[in-house]
Amino acid sequence: MASPSTATPASPASPAAARPRRRLPYYAGLLAVQLRTSLTTAMQYRADFLVQGAMSLYWLGWNLVPLLVLFDHRASVAGWSFEAALVVMANFVILRGILEGAINPSLGAVVEQIRSGAFDYTLLRPADAQFLVSTARFAPWRALDVLGGLALLVYALVRLGHVPDLGQLAAGLVLLGAGLVLMYALWLIVVAAAFWVVRLDNLAFLLSSVFDAARWPAAVFRGTWRVIFTFVLPLAVITTMPAEALLGRLDLTTGLAAVAGAAVAAAIARAIWRLALRNYTSASS
């Protein structure tokens, strides 16, 4: 996710010592270590597995309530049938599972580090700060959410009687990846804001509560909502387009534009992050 190629964090230590290495295997090894640490921690709280599993099921069922109420009295809304809307919902559950398992915990931790001054130690390490910050912490039990989302996806596709061909499957996966990159970029921008506005838990909550709207096909929103969810926060890209791709309804140009948009967003987020790093004044000294 983080491109380890061009970074030179504005470290308080001598630049030569903190210069990040550029080898891919080095970062792969680092990622493995970080993952193993999180997994070890998670295994210490094995009872959490059951709790998390129960919670995953609970929220999965909860998410379906409005869908069931709505489609109990309507065959379709804005051209989306119950099953098609279920595919969007499944994408949402999968994506949120990945976000809360792999991205939110790390980036949430860095905000605390910036506040306490412990972020200095991150900057001193001989690796790209964005990489370290993004992979610091994982919540492995969130994989249960992803599994639940996958089950929902399969169920929806079976009910539709639609088997996506290889092209549709690939397009769906690529677009889901683009949605993930987009959410990561938004998160990174929010975290970068923490360098200026220290108390930030609220802002993170704001982002995730807006992300909640992505459980619905973008087409059901009109007027102001449509504008906000397409241009301000491109929720349509995140969950609706992968669903359209899986269902074979997406044309190639739109899909490519979405992928390009996600790449641009990632580049902008990276630029903002580096700008924020240059402005970092340690809290500890």
Binding site: M55, V65, P66, V77, L206, D212, W216, V220, W225
Partner: protein
């Protein structure tokens, strides 16, 4: 008790000052209650295609804007505050004071209400200026019931949250409970979807739970979905009974909790 009452105006003033000091956070916090707005967007599109079970798009606008106002006006974060203070041991300081800790919490959160009212004023203005104005109640009996219901919803929410926070004396991770609570609340209070649109058995169950009195009932009174004044006051009566009952439970739980509490870091 008398001492707590005498101290309450001062505690409220402190609460207001705190709320003003952290006003930016409060605004962002209020902005996170986007769920009614998302549901508003969804249901108005649905109702624009054709009314949904006799609910037109105007009804949904009135319902969700009113829900947004009631929620932001009556909510607080005392459950998180208490849980955190118990976890870190800072509650010890409160226990040493000569007034009941609940009075302190009450002051903090009551003091924030004026600021909350200020923050939701724009939403109220939009509601009154929109075409949804037509469904709002205007006769004095209903308006009086609405005011009582808003006060009751505040008291009930406070009592329930104090009770949830008190769980931290008995559990290691009360946050999980609060998360589950929110899911249950969202469905049985009418926060997610108006209760009349939910299946019959959900409505029947909701009648036996306190959650609808926290949100759905005040909203129903505001948008004229209650048959008459007497029915509105009956809802208010039930709401206050819930508030008193839950406050009693929370107080008993608190005293049992304090007895088994051993300060951390002692």
């Amino acid at each position: 008790m008398r001492r707590a009452l005498a101290a309450l105006p001062t505690l409220c003033r402190i609460g207001l000052t705190e709320a003003v000091a952290y006003r930016a956070e409060m605004v962002v916090w209020l902005l996170t209650t986007t769920m009614p707005l998302v549901m508003l967007g969804l249901w108005t599109s649905v109702a624009d295609e054709a009314p949904f079970r006799a609910w037109g798009s105007r009804d949904f606008v009135a319902y969700y804007l009113a829900a947004l106002i009631v929620r932001n006006l009556t909510s607080n974060w005392v459950a998180w505050q208490i849980a955190e203070e118990i976890r870190t041991g800072t509650v010890s300081g409160r226990l040493l004071r000569p007034i009941h800790p609940f009075a302190g919490y009450l002051g903090t959160h009551l003091g924030a209400v004026p600021l909350r009212a200020l923050a939701v004023a724009p939403v109220a203005i939009i509601l009154v200026a929109s075409s949804a104005r037509a469904v709002l109640v205007t006769d004095p009996v209903h308006v009086a019931a609405l005011v009582a219901a808003l006060l009751g919803a505040w008291a009930l929410t406070f009592a329930l949250f104090v009770g949830l926070g008190t769980l931290a004396f008995f559990l290691d991770k009360p946050m999980g409970i609060i998360e589950v609570y929110f899911g249950v609340f969202a469905i049985f209070s009418g926060y997610l979807i108006p209760l009349p649109l939910l299946p019959g058995w959900v409505q029947a169950l909701a009648d036996w739970l306190p959650f609808r009195a926290m949100l759905g009932d005040p909203v129903a009174i505001a948008i004229g979905r209650v048959p008459d004044g007497a029915a509105a006051w009956a809802l208010v009566g039930r709401q206050w009974a819930w508030a008193a009952g839950l406050m009693l439970v929370a107080t008993v739980a608190w005293h049992r909790g304090v007895r088994r509490y051993e300060a951390f870091g002692g």
